[in-house]
């Protein structure tokens, strides 16, 4: 069974045509991988499907815009994967 990171990295690689080996847990999806908000919708769709969750993108965006959170908290991949794990756990609770 692949890890959350492997699943997410594969999704990003396939969705955005980014070489898999360049995608690291410490990569920032926006700043390091150059993924824009439209491409991230495709990634969110694939993540939602793969994990059976609904990434709260609107809430995250609002928090960043309001200065209550940084993009690193949500878009550095190891942080993103931790959020995904939390959402999966909450779904099963």
């Amino acid at each position: 069974m692949s890890s959350t990171f492997d699943t997410v990295a594969n999704i990003i690689s396939e969705t955005c045509d980014i070489p898999r080996e360049t995608i690291k847990p410490e990569s920032h999806a926006i700043d390091d991988l150059g993924i824009d908000s439209l491409d991230f919708l495709d990634i969110a769709f694939a993540i939602d499907k793969a994990f059976g969750i609904k990434l709260p993108l609107e809430q995250w965006t609002q928090e960043v815009n309001d200065g209550k959170a940084t993009t690193e908290q949500y878009f550095v991949l190891n942080n993103l994967c931790a959020r995904i794990d939390d959402l999966v756990a909450a779904k099963g609770a």
Binding site: L41, F45, K54
Partner: protein, 157 residues
Amino acid sequence: MHLEYFRLIDRIVELNLGEKTIRAEAAVPQVSTIFEGHFPGRPLMPGVLLIEAMAQTSGWLVIALTRFERMPFLAAVKDAKLRAFVEPGQMLSITSSLVHDGSGFAIASASITHAGKAVCNADITFRVMAFPDPAFRASMEQVAAEIGFPVKAAADG
């Protein structure tokens, strides 16, 4: 269709909130300045307008599913296939089903048929957000009334 007003559908004939599907009808006008250029002597409905018709139909589905609280804006069109020519005067049936309800976005799969034959299809992504202002929403409510959008059914869910 009222091409001058960019209204690509005439009326909504089916809306199933449980199945998350919608069907609309649209009659291609017999006369339009668009056909003078597309193409001289061989009038054809432009494919981009067929895509817009699918987007508008899908958009009304998203509006219905969000109970007229959210506005979809076209963000992406994928795998658009234009399978048949559409000529002035043809009646089109446009269907759409929701593929995914994301956070701030939605994806629908739409198609158009004419006389039971496939005309085109595409997967359409929308950004879904609050109406920019009350006047915008009011204008959409006016269009909704004109195309037979079942406001009450959508509101009741």
